[in-house]
Each structure stands twice: as structure tokens, then as C-alpha cells.
């Protein structure tokens, strides 16, 4: 690349880099600094070293929030990766009304997560909700979805899967359409059955897509907030309290900005760790990136 081309490239990149500096890197650095302070927004921050992180390590409510977030990840994650793949394979077939089905599955993603919470609040109503109505038709006693600590997190996971599955499905569809038809034709000639083709052709060739879907899903689920706030407020008790909600409560309700920032740094470290693991797995040579 010549000097002039480099300058032109820099000029094109500059607007994005400006926003990146002001809206991403800047706040991140301020957040890192805030995590080392005691700060109530109004006054000046007081440097306290790693005291916030020491407190965080002993904070039982934070431990509950971490446990709940991981539980949520376990509930919704596999469903969103495997379920979306199956949906993509289904709507990639030559079936009548294929476009309509694709749209219907994708539409929930266009809804704001807070609205998703409102919709599912109604669906999950123990007495007058649609879910219990149909369960009742099957002879199943009503479940207090959002009021029972056992069911509250699965209920939020179901709502989230409904919301996000369409988005993941679209990514998988793009991956599926990159697989040449000739590969399937050759397998058919060799006598492979549908499931064998799915397992030995589709799944391996979609591995890079699966890596991306898994990473994006993990990041999104780790930051679960809106649905929880609307559907349960973190309750009953603390059974659905998640890390981001805890950050919100500490920083913006209790105005412990320094401590809230420390929670944010913990989330950042966890997400970087997920990214590093993904990168390491990809670089093992098993996955072309």
C-alpha cells in the first residue's frame, strides 16, 4: 500500500475511530479507573486501589448473581445454538411457505428486549396466561412461572430463546448456503442418509459459523438485563438476579459508581476470557477462521 493509499484508508477509518475513541475506548478506560475509586457520581472520585475488588470477592450477592448468570447461560445457550441450527436446516429445505416461516421465526428479534419481557409476563401469568392455559389442556397443574424460584429462570430463558433464535438462525442460514450442493449430491450417490449427511457434512462444514454463533450468544446471554428487570426484577428473592442487573443496581440505584464499575470490569474480564478461549480453539487448526 502506498503512502497516499494509506492516508486515504486512514481518512475513511477516521470517523469510526472517532466514535470508537469517544464512545467505546474512552468510557472503558474511565470505567477501569472508576473501579479503583469510591465515587457517588456527584462528588470527586477517591482512589482506593483494589478495595472494590476485595469487597467483590467476598460479596455473597455478587456470587449469587454470577451463579444465576451461569445457570441462565446453561439453560438458554445450548437451546440457542443447537435449536437455531435445527431451525436453519428446517427452513433451508424446499418447503412451501418457507419465506413466511423464516420471517415468523425472525420477527421476535425485531422486538425490543423490554417488550419481550412484557409479552412473556402476560404469557407466564399463572392464572390467566396462555402457557398455563395450554398446559391445563394437557392436564398439567398451573405453574407460577415467574413467582416460583425454581421456574423463574427457566421462564426467562424460554423468553430469551424465543427472542434470539431467529437471529442465530439467519447466521446459520448464511453458513448453510455456503455449503456447495455438490457435496450433498456426492454423498447421496454414495448412499448417505439424511441424518448421516447432516452429521458428517452439515455440522463439520458449519463449524466456523457455530463458533461465531456460540461466541455471540455467550456474549449476549452474559449481558442479560432487560428481560430480567421487566419480568422478575431479579426475584423471587434473588433467584434471577444477574450480573448486569447487579451492576445497574450498584451504580445507578445505590450510586456506588466505583463498586458498580468493579462489577463491570469483572464482566469485561469474563467476556475477554470467552473470546480468548474461542480464539485458542480456532487457532488449534480445527477451525478455519
Amino acid at each position: 500500500m502506498g503512502k497516499t493509499q494509506g492516508r486515504i484508508a486512514a481518512l475513511f477509518l477516521a470517523p469510526y475511530l472517532c466514535f470508537f475513541l469517544v464512545l467505546r475506548l474512552g468510557p472503558t478506560l474511565v470505567g477501569l479507573f472508576a473501579s479503583l475509586t469510591s465515587w457517588n457520581i456527584v462528588g470527586s472520585p477517591t482512589y482506593i486501589g483494589l478495595r472494590n475488588f476485595n469487597t467483590l470477592a467476598q460479596d455473597q450477592t455478587f456470587a449469587i448473581a454470577v451463579k444465576n448468570t451461569l445457570y441462565f447461560l446453561l439453560l438458554a445457550g445450548p437451546a440457542l445454538v443447537v435449536g437455531s441450527l435445527l431451525l436453519a436446516v428446517m427452513v433451508n429445505q424446499k418447503i412451501p411457505g418457507k419465506r413466511l416461516v423464516r420471517t415468523a421465526i425472525f420477527i421476535p428479534y425485531a422486538v425490543m428486549p423490554a417488550i419481550v419481557g412484557v409479552i412473556w409476563n402476560w404469557m407466564d401469568d399463572p392464572h390467566f396466561g396462555l402457557i398455563n392455559y395450554y398446559l391445563g389442556k394437557l392436564g398439567i397443574a398451573p405453574i407460577a412461572w415467574l413467582a416460583d424460584p425454581t421456574w423463574a429462570m427457566p421462564a426467562i430463558a424460554i423468553a430469551t430463546v424465543w427472542w434470539l433464535a431467529g437471529y442465530n438462525m439467519i447466521i446459520y442460514l448464511a453458513g448453510l448456503q455456503d455449503i456447495p450442493d455438490e457435496v450433498y449430491e456426492a454423498a447421496t450417490v454414495d448412499g448417505a442418509r439424511t441424518f448421516q449427511m447432516f452429521w458428517h457434512i452439515t455440522v463439520p462444514l458449519l463449524r466456523p459459523t457455530t463458533m461465531i454463533v456460540t461466541l455471540l450468544t455467550a456474549i449476549t446471554l452474559f449481558q442479560i438485563f432487560d428481560q430480567v428487570l421487566v419480568m422478575t426484577g431479579g426475584g423471587p428473592g434473588t433467584s434471577t438476579l444477574t450480573i448486569v442487573q447487579y451492576l445497574y443496581v450498584q451504580a445507578f440505584q445505590n450510586f456506588n459508581l466505583g463498586y458498580g464499575a468493579a462489577v463491570g470490569v469483572a464482566i469485561f474480564v469474563a467476556l475477554v476470557a470467552v473470546g480468548v478461549v474461542q480464539r485458542w480453539y480456532a487457532q488449534r487448526g480445527e477451525v478455519p477462521t
Binding site: I41, H127, A144, G233, G234, G235, P236, V249, F252
Partner: protein, 430 residues
């Protein structure tokens, strides 16, 4: 490589400079004779927001030297925005809040009690409960706007079908009426043989299972002569027997009599759909009910124990501290105008506290019961950590207590102990 980096950085700096000079202060400088722009913040996101917006429009139409812009958001994000604006040196000129919020913001030093004195308000012109709500540690920080408290809404058609002539006034009547009004799919009531609690068609009573359930407990505590915190505001010092009586009374509605739908999420919608015959809710629901076709009425929160008390709060208008005295004065003048014209505010459901506008407010449907409760309303204590102690989302001691009682039927004494220790742990942290 370094050359490229330096070029990029140079371009970025230049771009930032250009952007800064375009959107900087000079770009938004007001013309010499433009009206003074005032910012007013309030957490009115329901029909009350529309009413306040109308009032602001009227103010703008009659005051050419000032232009007020109203910003409405949910209370919690609004308070964050407020403090951020304070930090940035451009606070709103009027900040609405509730009585229980004063302690926190006054102790942060962001409210100006001196300017409020200049309004020369007279306590005799206002409801005494609301007047008290504007003070913290002997200083008045706000202008009182309204009161809103829990009351009883009931469906007149369902009452008449159940041959109930008047709304319940005490605990016994309340339970008896709720039982009469609860009907399963076979037409049986909870006190009849063969009643099936899993197929209830109409419930006698509905209420929220969140922090509002705690508010009911709080009212029942006060009905027995109890209080929640000690005088220093640093310890939860309530009478455990009174506390247990209050939880037990509420738990019985759900688990013993089966007259309240478990984990009800929207009593008002269930009430409008005529699936519940009575609900405990606040006057903010009045504008919605006025638009429905059901026959409804309101009554005071029943007196279950030895005296009347019901949870309540009130909106107040504060003047945040700022360096521009002219803006502070203009903010105060606007706030006073709103209070003087608060008869209109009653259309939002909230009960204005300026005595001279109370008479016209009585003519609006459903308001009388709430007006009658104004002297007996009990507010949450004004403590600096109020936002944390009385939070509506987890981890909140009041939410945990309410849900332990009403979702899991836990022993009231153990709920009280946990509540006490959780509140004390928050208030004792510096």
C-alpha cells in the same frame, strides 16, 4: 508503521477539533432576546406525564420570557440522569421526586433549601402529611405537589351480584367479602365443600406481590401502632409481633382463604377484565378506570387493626443547586405556578395537596376515598439509604420479605428477623 499511525492520529485529532468546534457551546448559543430555557425532570411515564405536559404547555403559552421543557423517564434512570447532569454542571432547574427521596439527595448536597424559603409557602395552605414530606433534618427542600396512597377499588356489579351492600371497612368484613366474591368454575366459594382452588373463575381480591405487598405490610404495622425504623433512622426497630400479625393477615388471603391469585402481576388489568372483584392499588389507576365501561368505585384501605393507616407517598418539586441564580428563581417560579394550578393535576389521579384545590378535586370520580385518607397516610422513613432499603428490584430486603410471605408462606417471625438484619446491614454500611 509508526508513520501511518501518526497520520491516523493527526487526522483523528483534526476531526475531533472540527466536530468539537461545530457542536460546541458556540453552536447552541441563544440569541439575545430568546426566552430562558428551563429543564424540568419528572418520572411521570403514564397518563400523569400527559397531564404535566399540558400544564407545561399552558405555562409556556402564558410566560413569554421562559420556555420550559419537560423530560420524563422512569424514576430510577431519571435519578441517574439527574446526578450525571449535576456532575456535568448543568442540573435540571426543577426536579420532581417523592418524599422518601429527599433524604438521599439532600445528603448528597444537590438540593437547595435556601431557594425554597423564597417561595414563602404557608404550611396551613397544605395537607400536613404532604408538608412534612418536604422536610429533611428540619430544612424544607421542596414544594409539595400531591399525595397518593393505597386504597380499595371495587367492582359494583360483582358486589351487587354477591349481595354485598358496601365496601369492607375492617379486616373481618374484608375477608368475608373476599370469600363471598371468590367463585370457582362450579360456582363454589372458598368456605364451601367441594371448592377447587385450582379452577377459580373470579377472585375476591387482587394485589401486587412486589414492593407494594411490603407497603401493605407497612400500613398494617402502623395500624397496630408500630413504626419501622428507630428515631436515628439507622436501625429497623419494628415490633416483631406486630410485624408477624401483619404478614399473617396478608398470607391468609393467599394460602388460607384462596381469595387472591398467587403471584398476580397486574391487578388493574385483572380488575378491568372483571377477574378480580376488589384490588388494592393507588389513585394513579383512576385515569385508566375512567375510560373503562365497568362499574367501579373506591373506598379507603380497610382498618384491620386498632387504627387507620395506609401506605402512601407524594410528589414534590425540588430546586437543584446551581450557580445561576436567575435560573434557580425561574425554576422556583415555575414550580410555584404548578402547585397553584394543581387542580388540573388531579386529572392524573394524584391528589393535589394545596387545600384550596381539594374541593374541585372531590368532583372527579373515585377521588373522595383517597382525599379522606390524606391525614392517615403513612410514608416510608426518610433515610439517606432509602433507595437501597426500599428498592423495588433485587437484591431488596423489602422485596425478599414480601415474596417470602406471599409466594412461599414462610413463618412471619423468621421473615421479620431476616428483614431486620438485611435493613440494618445496609444502613450500617458507611
Amino acid at each position: 508503521m509508526f508513520g501511518r499511525f501518526a497520520t491516523t492520529l493527526g487526522i483523528l485529532t483534526a476531526l475531533l477539533f472540527v466536530v468539537g468546534s461545530v457542536i460546541g457551546p458556540r453552536a447552541v448559543a441563544a440569541p439575545a432576546h430568546a426566552p430562558l430555557e428551563l429543564q424540568v425532570y419528572g418520572g411521570w411515564t403514564g397518563p400523569d406525564g400527559d397531564v404535566m405536559r399540558n400544564m407545561v404547555s399552558q405555562y409556556n403559552a402564558t410566560h413569554s420570557s421562559v420556555h420550559v421543557t419537560l423530560t420524563t423517564l422512569q424514576w430510577s434512570p431519571l435519578f441517574s440522569k439527574f446526578l450525571t447532569q449535576v456532575r456535568a454542571g448543568s442540573p435540571p432547574d426543577v426536579m420532581a421526586m417523592h418524599w422518601q427521596d429527599v433524604a438521599q439527595f439532600a445528603s448528597l448536597g444537590v438540593l437547595d433549601p435556601n431557594i425554597v424559603r423564597q417561595a414563602k409557602l404557608k404550611s396551613s395552605d397544605f395537607s400536613s402529611t404532604a408538608w412534612k414530606g418536604t422536610f429533611y433534618k428540619g430544612k424544607q427542600y421542596a414544594l409539595p405537589l400531591d399525595q397518593h396512597m393505597h386504597g380499595l377499588f371495587y367492582n359494583k356489579t360483582l358486589f351487587s351480584k354477591a349481595h354485598i351492600k358496601s365496601p369492607p371497612a375492617n379486616g373481618k368484613e374484608w375477608v368475608a367479602d373476599a370469600i363471598k366474591l371468590t367463585v370457582d368454575s362450579n360456582g363454589k366459594h372458598p368456605n364451601q365443600k367441594g371448592f377447587n382452588p385450582n379452577s377459580i373463575k373470579t377472585y375476591g381480591l387482587g394485589f401486587l406481590f412486589n414492593h407494594h405487598a411490603f407497603y401493605q405490610w407497612y400500613a398494617l404495622l402502623y395500624q397496630q401502632g408500630g413504626t419501622f425504623m428507630d428515631k436515628s433512622g439507622k436501625r429497623a426497630d419494628f415490633n416483631m409481633t406486630y410485624g408477624a400479625n401483619a404478614w399473617r393477615f396478608l398470607e391468609n388471603f393467599v394460602f388460607k382463604y384462596h381469595v387472591v391469585p398467587t403471584a398476580e402481576s397486574s391487578p388493574i388489568n385483572d380488575f378491568v377484565a372483571q377477574r378480580v372483584a376488589m384490588i388494592i392499588d393507588g389513585p394513579w389507576e383512576l385515569p385508566l378506570l375512567e375510560k373503562t365501561h365497568i362499574a367501579w368505585a373506591t373506598a379507603p384501605y380497610p382498618q384491620v387493626f386498632k387504627r387507620r393507616a395506609e401506605w402512601g407517598s407524594g410528589h414534590i418539586l425540588t430546586i437543584p443547586k446551581q450557580s445561576n441564580a436567575a435560573r434557580e428563581k425561574a425554576g422556583l417560579s415555575f414550580a410555584k405556578w404548578i402547585i397553584d394550578h394543581s387542580a388540573q393535576w388531579s386529572t392524573s389521579g394524584n391528589i393535589p395537596v394545596l387545600k384550596k384545590v381539594l374541593y374541585p378535586t372531590r368532583t372527579y370520580p373515585g377521588r373522595t376515598a383517597f382525599i379522606d385518607m390524606m391525614p392517615t397516610e403513612v410514608a416510608l422513613p426518610d433515610i439517606p439509604k432509602g433507595a437501597q432499603v426500599f428498592s423495588a428490584v433485587a437484591p431488596s430486603p423489602i422485596l425478599t420479605a414480601a415474596q417470602a410471605a406471599l409466594l412461599r408462606d414462610e413463618d412471619p417471625h423468621s421473615i421479620d428477623s431476616t428483614l431486620k438484619s438485611q435493613v440494618d446491614s445496609i444502613t450500617s454500611t458507611p
